[in-house]
Amino acid sequence: MGIIRKALSSRPVASLTSPHTIDHYLDQIHPMLAAENVRARVVEVVQETGDASTVILRPNGAWKGFTPGQHVQFGVEVDGTRRVRCFSVSSSRAAKKGTFSVSVKAHPDGYVSQFLHHELKPRTIVYLSQAEGEFVLPRDVPDNLLLISGGSGITPVMSMIRTLRDTGHQGRVTFLHYARSRDDEMFTADLDALAEAANVTVMRVYTRRPAPGAELKGRFHVDHLKHLGIDPTDTLTYVCGPAGLIATVRDTYTELGAADQLRLEYFKVPSVDLDAADATGTLTFDDARIEADNSGATILEQAEAAGLKPEFGCRMGVCNTCVVKKNHGAVRHVISNEISANTDETIKICVHVPVGDVNVAL
């Protein structure tokens, strides 16, 4: 398929199908058939815990594979709308050929995570990006490696440790994981099995319901490292989890002069406050990396006030010139007063005001 795919994505073919791409045509035959669009079929959805599931996927030939620690943009279509969220790959790179998996923790009001956990059926086709992200192991893994994770942040490091196991890595690996309780922990059986290996130390800390006679208790603390006999300055460390955990680990490493050993990944799960009072919260212009206090004006006006120059036309919600992606947060339409709180949707910024914290791709 490699040569055919190359030929199909070539310039001569593109000039024959212009202004469309070959995938616009292949898609009509079958959605899995594509030169460049990554799609996958759901093989199985496995319940990990009461509120977490692993989704096993079989991608089409356009998928170029992943490096452990990377994530994919994962899109499901429900009632005509495609909803896209990032999920980290949780499986081993050396796992069964042709499949990989992501693992998801369902958020109380979350749309996609709830859908994956409760409703996603085998054989469904999902819309992916290629694997992306810099939170990956180096080509030559050093002899001392520490993986720290909290809650659903376990997924990318799980992919790392599984891959290390399957590729016969001999160096010392310590895995320090924080979960609320054993019932809330994903991959329990696999973690138990990993703990058997001579070069691997698996330490799980249950913050709400500690195991009887647990060696470590509570949230991350520098003593936890001491207890495990880890010297941060010569241990390459990966941390992924809630913002609080990441902040504490980063502070600890900075204090110990080991910041250069630390690799971080945030799972930015947005928060939405539909009842936010007028003109509260922060408006974030993500691309420009500017934050401004929400003034209550339209997002277009606030962007202009912040020195940005977004495109616009009618400034009355008619022409669609000003649309941008709202990454997350709730906005109110100034004419209809309708509130939309979906993550990752496009909005006309000339007729929307933020409700609480909002993040837009400007």
Binding site: P12, S15, L16, S18, P19, H20, H24, Y25, D27, Q28, G75, E77, D79, G80, T81, R82, R83, V84, D278, A279, A292, D293, S295, G296, A297, T298, E301, E304, A306, F312, G313, C314, R315, M316, V318, C319, N320, T321, V323, V334, I335, S336, N337, E338, D344, E345, T346, V353
Partner: protein, 430 residues
């Protein structure tokens, strides 16, 4: 940044174009717009606006799988007919297949430009979050680059619909199609020029989007103009290469079996398919705004308009074409021009349903609803072009008459004086 609480945004305001390059807000006077006063009071206009807002919201709330399925079905038919067309025109040795091929290719281009391209580029399917039907990404099978078309169409034409001096689509700078347009000698050729434009309509749309006239009048910057020119040239290259070079070249493979003329036949088939689409889209678009009963407006009357007045201007400034369902699909549902202008961003397949609500409101307020069969609207457009091509008696209607020139000079001077005043008191304009 300090936390200042802005005054709440005025709801239902249509003319909050505070910083738009062309503005319907009169910064010197808050005199209300006069549009629609012959039909209703300001209160009624306000109510009318709210009723239409409610119709729009009702449809938006109901969008879902069936709308997604619909547009995908149309795309499927479009792609299938394009492929069938390409296969058909590769059989110049078998005329029935060859002719069917041309028709399929023409149909594919019509569907791509009208029901898919035009509507997708309005953002009607943005809510699907599917890159294939995303307004900012869609590029159509047409010489005109989508970016500049969207600016001229979605913004200028749909915002300032039928306002003289603002909507560049009144007669496309080429025809005199409305009494209130000044007459020039070239308008004597209204009809033959329209016929020629019909055959090469996609080139006309492209040229319109380059905005040479706006540049020469100093209304757009040099960079803007050059960007438009560059995009147009790039799109021309791609379209011409595809239809008139690459596909005919593939026809060389047929030469040993069919004869030297096979690539020429394929080239001609491509030209004919493009002309079919040109003729069709020209007819539909001219019938949307140029029949006699459609109204146009003066800028002064539209300044500071409310949303209700904006809606009314759309209603009075457009005309529908009645017909059967397949006809509507082929027009991209632009046969529901009135509904399209009221709600340019809701999926066009909803216009028939929305038309019922619109008609109720038209009845309630005693308004005018322009509609008619295709033959009637075409005849009306032809009559308009013919009639208004004649030199009018009134010297003020003749563009080059001394009277008109004096009038324009007076207007220019007034505008300059206003600008000067603005420069002196910039805080007034914000």
């Amino acid at each position: 940044m300090a936390k200042t609480k802005n005054a709440p945004i005025k709801p239902h305001s249509a003319s909050n174009h505070n910083a738009a390059p062309l503005s319907l807000v009169n910064t010197h006077s808050d005199k209300k717009a006069t549009i629609g006063l012959e039909y209703m009071t300001y209160e009624q206009l306000e109510e009318f606006g709210e009723e239409l807002n409610a119709v729009r919201q009702r449809v938006l709330d109901d969008l879902g799988q069936k709308d997604a399925d619909y547009i995908r079905r149309v795309i499927k038919v479009q792609k299938a007919s394009e492929v069938l067309g390409r296969i058909g025109i590769f059989m110049p040795f078998f005329p029935p297949a060859f002719i069917a091929g041309i028709l399929f290719l023409g149909l594919a281009k019509i569907l791509d430009n009208m029901e898919i391209g035009h509507n997708v580029m309005h953002g009607q399917y943005d809510w699907m979050n599917d890159p294939m039907v995303d307004a900012s990404r869609y590029e159509w099978d047409n010489i005109a680059p989508s970016k500049d078309w969207k600016h001229g169409h979605n913004y200028i034409h749909h915002t300032y619909t039928n306002i003289h001096g603002m909507d560049r689509d009144i007669g496309y700078n080429m025809f005199r199609i409305d009494e209130d347009q000044p007459w020039y000698a070239s308008h004597r050729f209204n009809l033959p020029l329209a016929f020629i434009l019909m055959l090469v309509f996609e080139w006309g749309i492209m040229y319109h989007g380059v905005e040479l006239d706006q540049y020469l009048q100093g209304k757009i910057t040099k960079e803007d103009f050059q960007g438009r020119k560059k995009r147009a040239l790039k799109k021309i290259r791609k379209q011409v290469f595809k239809d008139y070079v690459a596909w005919p070249l593939l026809g060389l493979a047929l030469v040993p079996f069919v004869g030297w003329w096979a690539p020429v036949a394929i080239l001609v088939a491509n030209i004919v398919a493009n002309v079919i689409r040109n003729v069709w889209s020209f007819i539909i678009i001219f019938c949307g705004h140029f029949p006699a009963e459609v109204q146009t407006f003066a800028e002064e009357d539209a300044q500071n308009e409310t949303r209700g007045q904006w809606y009314l201007r759309q209603l009075l400034g457009s005309a529908n074409i009645s017909g059967h369902k397949p006809f509507h699909v082929l027009t991209g549902n632009l046969s529901y021009q009135v509904e399209h202008h009221l709600f340019p961003d809701i999926p066009a397949r909803r216009y028939p349903e929305v038309a019922e609500d619109v008609k109720l409101l038209v009845e309630k307020y005693g308004l005018q609803y322009n509609t008619g069969r295709l033959s009637k609207q075409v005849a009306s457009v032809i009559r308009q072009l013919a009639k208004l091509g004649h030199k009018p008696d009134d010297p003020y209607k003749i563009g080059n008459s001394p009277e008109s020139k004096a009038l324009r000079r007076a207007k220019r001077e007034a505008a300059a004086a206003r600008r000067e005043e603005e420069a002196r008191a910039p805080q007034l304009t914000s």
